[in-house]
Symmetry: C2
């Protein structure tokens, strides 16, 4: 009684079912009158094409997988929403995979998505063993784009931030407040991004010739441990520095929380700066200084890169009539909307190493209250000057 098929429609319309198929898919070669009649009948019967059957013959599911570590960290919903929106605009659905920072889950999701025959995957890897991930992915022959962070040295496309620069900006800023000790909090074993942030932090310290003994670096596995606990432990151990750079905003908020719990005032007794610029950071109540990531842009670019892989632009797409040089990058203006991304007709694999597919976004320091020693009106300067 349920689920009409193309045959039901064909029977009702007194045509062959290939005609129905043509009509439904807006293919040429059907008399306009016939098409209308078929479509009418299809509607009346509430006919719905059978996606999986289509996928079987088209070898295309119009679905992409999105693998992220933690949807409850506000950074990722921002990313996810943008990607979802873009995907929808290009007729793709999104399969959401939340790993909870579990590498095993991550791999099993990849396997799952492969079986489901998604057309591509966008992944914000949670694993440190990223090179290994890259190898896992290499064996499935699927367009993949890294977002947020990428395995070092991967040849795949990605959209990430300049984490070193970001870390550097944060540290510079804290040091500029004249603190005599400084700390970094983050689980560097979790991702290369975090490592990068630490590297930037160290570089800045070195540049300023900031003595190593005045630096505290907390690297422990933070999974399940919050900034709230970390700062309290530092306090307990009597080695809490005057300023803390936290690898992400949630961590930073936890730190502030924990510090206040112990009667410390932020920024008076402790300077704090985070990373990401989640929407909550800007609230006056927190007014958290942070290094902003352009999440929307990141999401948008990630999807565009994936789309370019999934639907390789044909020669016809570009207006330029001839190739200019055989091995020249050929001025690839990255993806207009869906179409646009012009490039050579080389195989997807061969394209990867090109710079246009490995995008590094610039971070932006956002100075709010938690990181500024003396409260001046100037402190809020950057507060509203946000990009997004």
């Amino acid at each position: 009684m349920n689920a009409k098929t193309i045959k039901d429609v064909a029977k009702a319309a007194n045509v062959s079912y290939s005609t129905v198929s043509r009509a439904v898919n807006n293919r040429p070669g059907v008399k306009e009158a016939t098409r209308r009649r078929v479509l009418e009948i299809a509607a009346a019967l509430e006919y719905r094409p059978h996606g999986p059957a289509r996928s079987l013959v088209n070898r295309k599911t119009h679905t992409i997988g999105l693998i992220i570590p933690d949807i409850t960290n506000p950074f990722f919903p921002e990313l996810a929403r943008e990607i979802e929106e873009r995907a929808q605009a290009s007729e793709y659905s999104l399969m959401l995979c939340n790993t909870g920072w579990d590498e095993a889950k991550e791999r099993s999701f990849i396997a799952l998505l492969t079986e489901r025959r998604v057309d591509g995957i966008i992944i914000a890897p949670s694993a440190h063993s990223a090179e290994q991930l890259d190898r896992v992915l290499a064996r499935i022959n699927l367009p993949v784009v890294y977002v947020s962070h990428a395995p070092r040295g991967t040849r795949r496309p990605y959209v990430v931030m300049d984490d070193e620069l970001g870390g550097s900006l944060a540290a510079e800023h804290l040091l500029a407040q004249g603190v005599r000790s400084i700390g970094f909090i983050g689980a560097t074993d979790e991702s290369v991004s975090i490592e990068g942030r630490l590297t930037g932090f160290r570089q800045a310290c070195n540049r300023r010739r900031f003595p190593a003994e005045c630096r505290v670096v907390v690297l422990e596995k933070l999974r399940g441990i919050s900034g709230y606990e970390v700062v309290q432990r530092l306090l307990d151990e009597g080695r809490c520095p005057e300023a803390l750079f936290c690898e992400n905003d949630i961590l930073a908020l936890g730190v502030i929380e924990g510090a206040r719990e112990r009667g410390m005032r932020v920024p008076d007794d402790l300077l704090v700066i985070g990373f990401d610029d989640i929407p909550f950071a800007r609230f006056q109540s927190f007014s958290l200084s942070t290094v902003a990531q352009p999440k929307r842009e990141m999401g948008r670019l990630a999807f565009d890169l994936l789309l370019a892989e999934m639907e390789p632009p044909t020669e016809a797409d570009g207006p330029e009539p001839a190739r200019n040089g055989s091995d020249q990058p050929a001025a690839a203006a990255p993806a207009g909307r869906a179409q646009g991304a012009r490039e050579g007709a080389r195989s997807a694999a061969a394209r990867h190493p090109h710079a246009e597919h490995q995008i590094v976004l610039k971070p932006q320091l956002v100075t709010r209250r938690t990181s500024v020693k003396i409260e001046t009106t100037d402190a809020r300067r950057v507060n509203r000057a946000r990009t997004e």
Copy 2:
């Protein structure tokens, strides 16, 4: 060169492909030795069953759709994570659909998911015209569970909160602080839940014989307008009450923000209470009083309900050996973890009206700082006594 099929495996293993199918699916009727050999070869070839093809014959995609209004409101990621986790445990994938409170999008997602032949849908409807939604859904013959809010009078299963009680609790609490004017902020046209919260608010006011002229109710379409703006407008118009009940936490945080912008102190000059208890509410920096929703439980129950619809418990599931009466509910314990809600073996459609499928969770008042007039130690009493 890619994507091995069952035939490749069959050829390599020198068996018919039906044997491979049996082996891969752990079906009986294959010699153990054969099975092992086949499995080995399959692994060596990196054979991956083709999901869509399977779906075509099995008439099951092992995918569910999750339709929510706004993934960037922290309430929904909490819900989504729980659902995703449960789904994963039961071998279901999640298709994420973010409507942005757009009813048209909502409907088109439903159509899309239907075409994709998902096995079921969990939807947190954004539409006010919920009855209409119910009718839309009625025409697709698919298990659907409402979560967070449900159309009034629907016969479908749902998991919601007792919004009236929640609204009532919030209002009672504010009134108990001895305020002389009080306000409600929320777009009641957005969902029945919000209406319910307003109703509860009004009931509480009436119960206390609180004069109507001392109540302010802001009902405008809030889409795109934040609490930040609303409170400032109230201030401008000189009709800002002493206490504000905001229909959700994000709204409440915006209100606090806006009030502070105007130099008001919360709670000294303005009491504020929210709804949802998003993770950020508990942060000392906000310390937002709110009415807590049990998001995890909501998500869990919603999935369990859906699962029960998708995989109707068979007679065999229950331990009771015989039917007691022909038309009696016949206490069949539904699917494993989804225990509890027992029901008869009638068709899914016939089951809906049963109370066990329409779950109303109790809200819990969480009193933090933003709603308490005089700062006593007592004020933080409930602060940590949270369920989740």
